[in-house]
Structure formats: C-alpha cells, structure tokens
C-alpha cells in the first residue's frame, strides 16, 4: 500500500504539472486582462505553481507530513479564492478560472491519506465559491447556476473516483496488514507454546529419570527402614530437581546458580559445603553441558561424611568442576561408576585416597 500511495501521488503530481503548465498556464498568463486584478491573480497562479514544486520536493524527501500538507492546502485555497473573486460571473466556468479545475487535484495530492469523508466535502469548495460569485452578480440565472453544477460534476467526478479508490485501497491494505499481524502473533504464540512444551517435556523427562528409580525403590521398601543407597538416591534426586528448578530462573551465571541450588539441598544435611569459583561469569555454557558438569558431582557430595569442597574454574577454552569430600562408605562404587565416563562431551575422572574422594568434570569448549 505504501508503494501504491506513493505511485498514485506521483501520478497526480505529474498530471497537475501538465494541467498547470499546458492547460491553465496560457489562460493565467495570456488572458490576464479578464481578471479584475491581473497582478494578484498572476501572483496567485505562480503561488500555486510554487505549491506544486514544494509538494514535489517534499515527496522526494519523504517529508510530506500532515502539517505541511495542511499549510499547502491553505495556500491552494487562498489562490482559489483569489482567482474566483477576481473573475466575473459569466467566466466562472471558463478555462480562465484555473482554480476551479486545479484545487481538487491539489486536495487529492496533499490529503491522499485522509478518509474520503474528510476530503470529499472540500472538493466542492470551488463550486461553492463560484456559485457565491454568480449569486452575487447581476447575471444570476438558472442557466448560470446549472453551468457551475455541470462543471463541478465534470471536474470533481474524476477527483472523487481517485480519492475513493485510494481510500478503498488503503482500507484494504490496513485490513491485510492487520490480518498478517494477527497471523504472525498466532504463529509466534504457537512457536513459543511449542518451545515451552518441549522444554517442559524435557525437564519432566530429566525429573522422571532422577525420581523414578527412587520411587520404585521406595515402593518396594514397605515397612523396612531405608538403606544407605536409597537414602543417597533420594538426596541426589532432590538435588537434581532443585537444579532443574534453578535452570528456569538463572541469571548471567547459570552454572553457579544451578550448582548452588544443588548444593543447598545437601547442605541442609549439616554438611560443611565450600564452593570456590574462579574465572569470569559465563552465560554461554549450554544446559546439557552444565548438567554433564554438575550431575556426577552429586554422587560424591551425597556420600560425604562432614565436609565438601566444590571448585569451579572457567577459562576461555574449558570449564572445570571438582568436588573433594571425606567419604567413608561407598568410595569404591563411586570410582568404578564414574571414572572415564563421558556425558555431553564432559570428561569425568574420580579417585579416592586416605578417606578423601575426589571427582572432576571438564568440558572443553
């Protein structure tokens, strides 16, 4: 629509140029003796030519706004009044009344983006002025009035058609733009909903993987007291769920945020948990790698007897996490389960010496 409006304006502007130069120019300049005030009407004509030129410049610059359009329309109306009142009644419908034929086209050019109900009544302004001059003269007759009406119909008819067509096209374009906007919104909402659902499903899957074995074990326990493995399983599951919850509201340092959330669940057991972080905050570690880095550590932390040290070092090439804990039970299981594992490109290594277990994860970017 924007292209169409611009093209239509340029067409009207070019047509006005031809009308002013070839049709009304000879009348305005050559027949100046018919006007009551030849100088004033000549000035008015050239003012109208000036308006045409200024409109062209503003169109090129793309700055034909509402205020400038209104100012130019007032200038045109003043020219129309000047030429109409300076002509005798019998020449109101003649070619020498260049304002009658040109004002409407200026209105179409300058108010193309306005609704037809606003522009339409002003298209009748030349006819109203001419009728006033005829009515005030001594030659007022039915024929003279009819002549004004006939000329008004001939002149304003095409102008009304162009203004109507423009208004309709603009209306259709606005409707189409609204429809397209609604479709885009619907598509965006759908894709956001799909992404949220997928993320929810993914989280649910991870939560399920963490919790299901524990629940299965719990269902088979009956009235027996919980054994140590099951207790650890519960703790790991709780820590993973806390970390998953933390994934949804992480700030600019999600790994530390999730790590703290995981450790928080375990700290409540009364463990002394020390977290030391070195290197700048890093928001670019993908969630899979963050899980790959943190998950194996939980197996060590839940086995700790009293003290855990967790360290995180981040550099431009790699991220390393390590946990060192005093582990008395299950240290051998830990080493056999985790050493040499690779998960999401994260290397895992572990060991045990003198009552201290350690586990390290490393992700190379």
């Amino acid at each position: 629509m924007i292209d169409f409006a611009a093209r239509l304006r340029w067409t009207v502007w070019a047509a006005l140029g031809v009308v002013l130069g070839a049709l009304y120019g000879p009348f305005a300049v050559g027949d100046s003796n018919v006007y009551a005030s030849p100088g004033l009407t000549l000035f008015a004509f050239f003012t109208l030519v000036g308006v045409w030129l200024v409109a062209g410049v503003l169109l090129v610059a793309g700055s034909l706004g509402r205020r400038s359009s209104l100012a130019l329309i007032f200038a045109c109306a003043a020219c129309l009044v000047a030429v109409t009142v300076n002509l005798p009644a019998q020449l109101q419908t003649d070619g020498v009344n260049w304002g009658f034929g040109s004002f409407g086209w200026f209105l179409v050019l300058l108010a193309l983006d306005r609704p037809l109900r606003v522009v339409g009544p002003f298209l009748a302004l030349p006819a109203v002025l001419s009728l006033a001059v005829v009515a005030a003269s001594s030659v007022a007759s039915v024929e003279a009035v009819s002549a004004v009406f006939v000329r008004a119909l001939v002149v304003a008819g095409p102008q009304l058609v162009v203004a109507f067509a423009s208004a309709q096209l603009q209306l259709n374009a606005e409707k189409a733009a609204d429809a397209a906007q609604r479709q885009r919104r619907v598509r965006s909402a759908n894709s956001v909903a799909a992404a949220l659902d997928s993320d929810r499903q993914r989280r649910m899957q991870v939560v399920r993987e963490a919790i299901e074995p524990v629940l299965r074990e719990l269902s088979s326990v009956g009235t027996r007291p919980l054994d140590e493995d099951l207790r650890r399983g519960c703790l790991v599951a709780a820590a993973r769920v806390r970390r998953l919850l933390a994934e949804s509201n992480a700030g600019d340092d999600p790994l530390v945020h999730e790590l703290s959330a995981s450790l928080d669940a375990l700290q409540r057991r009364g463990l002394v948990v020390e977290l030391a972080v070195r290197g700048p905050a890093d928001g670019d570690i993908p969630v899979e790698q963050r899980r790959g880095l943190t998950d194996p550590l939980l197996d060590v932390v839940v086995r700790a007897a009293s003290r855990v040290r967790v360290t995180l070092t981040r550099g431009p090439d790699e991220v390393r996490l390590a946990v060192v804990a005093d582990v008395h039970d299950g240290a051998d299981d830990l080493c056999s389960v985790t050493t040499g594992d690779m998960r999401e490109g994260v290397e895992v290594s572990a060991g045990h010496v003198g009552g201290v277990s350690w586990l390290r994860t490393r992700w190379v970017r």
Partner: protein, 225 residues
Amino acid sequence: MAADSVGEVNGDRLGVVVVDDHPAVVAGIRLWCAETDRLEVVAGGPTPAVAWTSPGSEAAVVVLDLQLRGMREPGWGELTRLVAAGRRVIVYSMRDDERTVLRSLDIGCATYLTKAEGEAHLVAAVLAAVDDQPYLSPALAGAMTVDRAPDRPRLTERESQVLLAWFQCESKEVVAEMCGLSPRTVSGYLDRVRIRYARVGRPARTKASLVARALQDGLIGLDDL
C-alpha cells in the same frame, strides 16, 4: 628486616602483628600462633596503626585484613606502604575474587589467604614467610589458574596441573594421587610457581628474599634468572 635479627620476642619466638577489625579473628590467630613453638602475636588491632607502632612495628610478619570496617575498597595503599617498608605481609581476607588476590600478589604480599582457609594454612604461611620461603595457598592457586594477564609467568603443563589440583582439593596427598606424583614433588611444583610469580611482580624486598632463598634451596638455578 631479617628474620634472624628482627621480630624475635621471648627468646626464639617470632612476633606477628594482626591487623583485623574482628576481635575474634585476632584472638583466633593469637591462639593458633601460641600453639606453635616459634610464633607469638605481639599486637593486634582494628587499624593499620598497630603495625607501625611498637611492639607491632618490630613484628616479623604482618597479617593484614585487606578490607577493614568503613573501607569501600580494599586497602591497597596500606598494603603497598607495608611492603615498601620491607614488611612481610600475609593478606588474610574474606575476599576471594581473583582480581583482588592477584593484585595483592603483584603489590608484594608474601601470600594471600582467605579466611575460609583457616588455621592450617595461616600458620604454615606465617612460618614460610619468616623463613623467606614460598607459600602458595589454594586461594592463590585458584587465582593463578585463571590468570590471563599478558605479563603472567609462563607455567609448564605439569605446573598448571598441580596448581589446579591444589586449588581443587587443598591437600598435597590428594594432589599427589591425582597427578601421580609424590607429595614432596607437589610442594616443589607449587614453590616454583610461587617463585615465578615473585619474579614477574613489582620489585619488593619480600620477593627478592623469596627468589634469593629459592636459589639457595636449589628450587631454581641461576640459569632460570
């Protein structure tokens, strides 16, 4: 201020002055030092003035809290003045960010300890300082591990591995197990790293003493200089 002439109190014991605005910290360090047969806290207080007036001014080692009450920024000026006066300063701070740690090291502190590192590291660091021997705390190791400054010393791959492991586990036995080395070799690597940093830092008496002692102990050779 040589360790064998200045700072001695009560015969063989060496004086330590503690600048910390938490009385509990001063009391804790006093107790830890008393439990050794070589150290004694001779003065302690909440302002650096305690290190400049007797008996604190004669102490062999200054344990300095970098951020005393009312300070918005770490006390870089105080640390610089103490180092420039030839004092052996151990920074003992709550702050553990690598910028603070590395800047303290660059100014010329003997070592940097976080308050979480506690008794074992503090006493060992003070003893190392009075003997002009390097001491590299895990907090310092962590900061060196992520050091990306253009003028940082170049470490060998093995030194980097040991440094990282030391930061991660705070136990030389565990580091030895992790890296397949003996605990003594681990200590050697850590000392060498500390000396490398001492050599690239700003000139300071503490650093000069560290390097001289490292030469005497054969930790580095003349070729390394």
